[in-house]
Subunit: 513 residues, 2 copies
């Protein structure tokens, strides 16, 4: 038996949900993104809600996506000179107050640990916090780790020889969520967070921008999601940062999704945690910092970017299964055995070429049912082998993205499979890019702006006077926010669509997730 | 510049502790295991304490060890047909009470989350739990995930077709620790936990034993730590298990360390969480379960097993850096350049062969200092290149384990480096095995038993009457516990060393970590 893909032989795991059966029976449009986003996630076996509000269970198929993302990103980080480490989950509440703007920002919605033991309460017959085990100082589960990491950097950095310090962490963080949504807004988030310290502001800026490039490259080349690189406005930037760089993607429903951020922290955390270094001339100064992160939210972004009425559509570079092989049993048992043998040979040959392939030889389901299942799961390429194919030493291929069907000689297929997967990868990206281009409009008056935000939405490039006041007014009227001030956007003199005051560059507006 | 190891170029990170400098200056015996265990961990840059009691910071060098362990184990799990998934960090307290013996066991020492927001208290000028954000039901941070995972299995398992279900999770867990020790006893632990469900008791038993074999193989072949496979006694077994299988290793100070456990859960969790399946005949029954786990404690085990007065001694299969290349500068600058170029060529050639190699070309430290540093860090092999070596197309090699020094032709070295590392790996294992053999005694009377536990300790094979009462009495007298009832131990009629009652097999006693 061919075991090339980590998911080989466990396809049943993907279907352990009633949503799956509903999907297989119901009109597909009920599950189509955007309305059916959560149903699609569940039907395809990516994730489901847990009974703890806001916390999700990432099922094996969804987690395989995250594992692939991690492997690619981790390699990219290490090539840039970062190393991984691990800092504690629990942070003393006193740390949170050290960087003043940090706690005034998002960090309040934290899970707070107040006791270190549970006890059985006979009266209520429940498990309760043990009153004798109250912590002197409450702890929070990290919502992000700047505070605890900079507390360490204080001890680790003395001299310019200790710099730059470039550490990344793969971890879980918790931020309480009132309106949870699978992958997009969850209380517990899996992510990576990079935290670096530098001897100069320039080097730290370069680091923040360099990581934005790594992220953009990953989004576009691996996830086939085009992104706009930009800076956040003062109002939208990370609490504790001097500059927040962001990647903004446009989803199929015309709403924007922030795909990742990279922050230039200036000396803010260094000052809060007293992290100083002595330079080559013996002069002491605070260090400059950055932080940057990507989360499991990207799985949601992929679903929203590429899905259609048949289900998911995964870019080959990230798909846990790139090619599914479906043998079509013949009437005669001997022929069926021959077909199964050929399917196995093909699977092994694909595996040897480094392709993640899988055979579905379950005899409890008909081919048509299987086709629909793998379409739902977004497997990029389906290879069908029946008696006709075996006789002709051929394979019938169906692309998930275009539905295109070709019959190809087995050897030709093996020689061209990499190119074919690259073609699908490229087609997904081009389709997404074309969509974004069509859905990006340049608007110069507020009435049109409001009209766009009421109807097709999408990305709107418009002039803005640079004030938080105007930004908030526009948001109140239209629910649109400034997603970013695009990097390298052309200078252009214009008038703010809201206030009429002068502006030197268009900014990117959208309603957002 | 050669960049074969993920740690290339960041050696400074390893030394960010005052313990390191103390080690370099102080008599080495102050740092030697066992008395200097924590100092050695810190001096070598593996980990340090955080300000949250019991939580440690795993530094890049220590985390690189964990990454290597993960990669090898993850591959082994997947080859056995397991897949990874992710379940929530937070567990409702009500789940804990479902499996009665589970909560009566270790699970009480939990971190309890009672609030979901913090607030600034102007009076005390501190951050406090927000009284308006109290959770209706408190949550605990998972001490282990049986309860939340079996809650899902209830929804995922209906029929024999859904079985076996084999899921593994890489996660952090929290168990409050009153006497924390780096890697050995920490409040937050990184680990993997496998949770499987089966259609028959036999298959579940096989799974539990099969994973014990995977673990034993990993301990012996990768970490070079010999282990005794056995069953825990009723008193020592996991709360909620029918049988707990264990691997017991003997550390250099004569104390035992439990390296990993694998539990046959019977139908206990299935009954607690109502997880039933219909078999091929249409009959419903509860499923049978297993769980098994390994933790970052293994890093502590490796330190205790292999360290000597020079510092760590890492088995090549797990060492983040397998070969360190140290160029010895010559008097003439031209010669030094030549030496540096040869060192780089050597590093590249090693990398091409898949060896994790690193050059230390810092000019701020003398070779002798560097030798001592890499000995402290336990790098298996040191390759020194000076002018003499360049002229002779040679390299001077020093083994960390034996101190053996040989001069070898560069090409010969490259051709034999794999074999040489295997030799070191084998020598470490044999040394540990020899130690264990010498420190394992067969004892037949209680006076001798007590004497052994007072003096050299080690493993003691002795007869026991099978009662918890005797087990506890022996423990009170000698601090020794029954580490396990060895699997496949020879049947032998004897008398319990404590009670004199009959016994059919010797069991393994030791004082333990």
């Amino acid at each position: 038996m061919c075991v090339p893909s980590p998911l080989q032989g466990i396809s049943y795991l993907l279907f352990l949900s009633s949503e799956h059966l509903n999907f297989m029976k119901a009109p597909k449009k009920d599950f189509a993104y955007p309305a059916g986003y959560s149903e699609l996630i569940k039907a395809a076996g990516l994730a489901e809600h847990s009974s703890v509000r806001g916390c999700m269970i990432i099922k094996p198929y969804g987690f395989a996506l995250w594992e692939n993302m991690k492997a690619i990103l981790d390699k990219a980080f290490k090539q840039k000179g970062h190393v991984n480490a691990y800092f504690p989950l629990l942070i003393p509440t006193s740390y949170l107050s050290k960087e003043a703007s940090h706690i005034q920002g998002f960090a309040k919605e934290c899970a707070v640990v107040t006791h270190y033991r549970v006890a059985y309460d006979a009266k209520s017959e429940t498990i309760v916090p043990d009153v004798d085990a109250k912590l002197q100082e409450p702890l929070v589960i990290r919502p992000t780790s700047e505070t605890i990491i900079w507390q360490s950097y204080k001890n680790w950095i003395n001299s310019y020889r200790d710099l730059p310090l470039r550490i990344n962490q793969w971890a879980n963080v918790v931020r309480w969520e009132m309106r949870p949504r699978l992958f997009l807004r969850t209380a517990e988030i899996l992510w990576q967070e990079g935290h670096t310290a530098h001897a100069s502001a320039e080097e730290a800026e370069q680091e923040a921008l360099g990581m934005l490039e790594v992220y953009a490259d990953f989004m576009e080349k691996t996830l086939a999601i085009p992104v706009v690189k930009g800076k956040k406005t003062l109002h939208e930037r990370f609490s504790g940062a001097e500059t927040t760089y962001t990647l903004e993607a446009l989803m199929q429903d015309g709403k924007a999704l922030q795909a990742g951020t990279s922050h230039f922290l200036g000396q803010n955390f260094a000052k809060a945690f007293e992290v100083k270094f002595t330079n080559q001339k013996g002069v002491m100064n605070y260090v400059w910092g950055t932080s940057w992160g990507l989360t499991t939210r990207l799985i949601g972004a992929m679903v929203m970017m590429h899905s259609d009425e048949k289900g998911l559509l995964l870019p080959p570079k990230i798909a846990p299964i790139q090619v599914v092989i479906i043998p079509i049993p013949a009437r005669e048992e001997a022929s069926s055995k021959l077909i199964a043998a050929e399917a196995n040979l093909l699977c092994e040959a694909l595996a040897k070429r480094g392709i993640r392939a899988k055979i579905d030889d379950r005899d409890s389901y008909r081919p048509g049912w299987k086709f629909a299942e793998y379409e739902l799961q977004g497997i990029p390429l389906r290879a069908v082998i029946g008696l006709k194919e075996v006789m002709g030493k051929e394979v019938t291929l169906v692309r998930r993205d275009s539905g295109e069907r070709v019959v190809q000689g087995v050897d030709d297929f093996l020689d061209s499979v990499d190119a074919r997967l690259d073609e699908i990868q490229g087609a997904l990206y081009q389709r997404a890019l074309g969509f974004r281009k069509r859905q990006t409009v340049y608007v110069d008056d507020y009435a049109t702006f409001k009209q766009v935000m009421k109807t097709q939405r999408g990305f709107v490039m418009a002039h803005w006077d640079g004030t938080t006041e105007t930004e908030q007014k526009i948001n109140q009227d239209t629910q649109a926010t400034i997603r970013c001030i695009p990097l390298n956007g052309p200078e252009e003199n214009g008038k703010c669509i809201y206030s009429g005051r002068p502006s030197g560059q268009r900014v990117l507006f959208a309603q957002a997730y």
